[in-house]
Amino acid sequence: MVLRFIRLLRGYVEFVLFGRFPERFINLLTREGIRSWDIMPEKGMYNGKMLLTDYRRIRPLARRAGVRLKVRKRSGLPFFLKKYRRRRGLLIGAAAGLVLLTVLSQFVWDIRISGVNTLSYSKVMAALSDNGLYPGCFKPSLTVSEIERETELYVPDISWISINILNNIAEVEIKEKVRKPGISDTKTPCNIKASDDGVITDIIVHSGSCTLKRGTAVTKNSLLVSSVIEDNEQNIRYVHSDAEIFADVKADKVFKIPITNNKIVFKSETDERSRLRFLWAELPLSLAPRRSDNFVSVFSQRRVIFNSVTLPIGDSLERLYYYSNSEIKHTPDEAKSILKKKAALYECFCEGKGRVKTRSFNFKRIDGFDVLSASYVFNKNIAVKQRLKVN
């Protein structure tokens, strides 16, 4: 294999030998130290192979042996170079390719992150980028241990991080922190108090002593379930009270919006501005000016992937959506509809655990505002645990 490679590098010829004393010619070759191989007889002639440098020396020997030589085939690098010597573009292209390969191998082309389950991928990427590791960064300038340490500090949910730079790909392995499960305290003595004023509708006591009955009215912070239990022999025992006390609670809420409001209206016209990305550099492909300063831009990026390797070339597209600010005045019906939606959101998200028993709305226009006054009766659990203080 090595011999074949050396022969190809130096160049060799396949020749045909014929004449009076071919054996003498072979002997002369060996005496002169000229190496030939694969000498095979064929129909009164001989085929053989010889290095190009040797072939130039054998003319006098052939004359002495009375044989003639004819070249059948030329192989190897010198013939290849001779064939393409006038096509300088090829040489320049090969040199440029070599330079490009050398330069590009000094940069990180792609970052692969593994082990991210609950963490935000983009947050990790942003942390790495802030610490100097991003697609297109210069490899020799990276200090991996420092990036690992800084990233771990930047994202506290990472318990362990390892960065391996293999060729042009940075492989980032992450182990996330496992959070401790919340342990509910079921032993410390505590009372249960009311979180709101209301009329009790249902009582479910798991532990503790409760003297209340259905229909009893309670005020905020009044004792619902006591942790002090006294037995028949008048011994006092403190327990961790646990209960669900449902009560009808009255709540008033005011929602308001201005009568005139600024509204963003998107226009139908959009612009697209594409850029060619190479490593960190960007080359704009469209030079269209912006139509106005009121726009929202959406970026999208594409990268060239070859054989599952992301190459450092791609394009990015910025799409501009133009809008205009317009002042609109709500009609009473529109205002009512908007305010009722706000009220529905309040019922869902602010009083989500309670069930709405009754609701009533009162709509008014006061001092440039549309106001919706809402009166609710929620049925909800008003039990709140409060630790027992023993002085």
Partner: protein, 82 residues
């Protein structure tokens, strides 16, 4: 291994050719001084102790140097003269 090498050197010193066969398909001849006759059925090599003749079918000289010849092909007989 060392003994074998020593023996080979000794044999060369006695001007005897060394023949190394691989079955009957390949023979390496050390100590040859030239090719006397060569075609696909007969290869005759000169050595200091005489002439060695290989007869066979499809014979060819695979490689040749001043003291060494490799003959390949289907070797039927080997003959020593002189």
């Amino acid at each position: 291994m060392k003994n074998m090498e020593q023996r080979r050197v000794q044999e060369l010193n006695y001007k005897l050719p060394v023949l190394e066969f691989t079955g009957n398909r390949r023979v390496l001849t050390e100590g040859s001084t030239g090719v006397l006759k060569y075609d696909d059925e007969l290869v005759r090599l000169n050595s200091r102790s005489g002439v060695i003749t290989f007869k066979g079918r499809g014979l060819s000289i695979k490689c040749i140097s001043p003291t060494c010849v490799i003959v390949e092909g289907f070797i039927i007989s080997v003959e020593f003269t002189g």
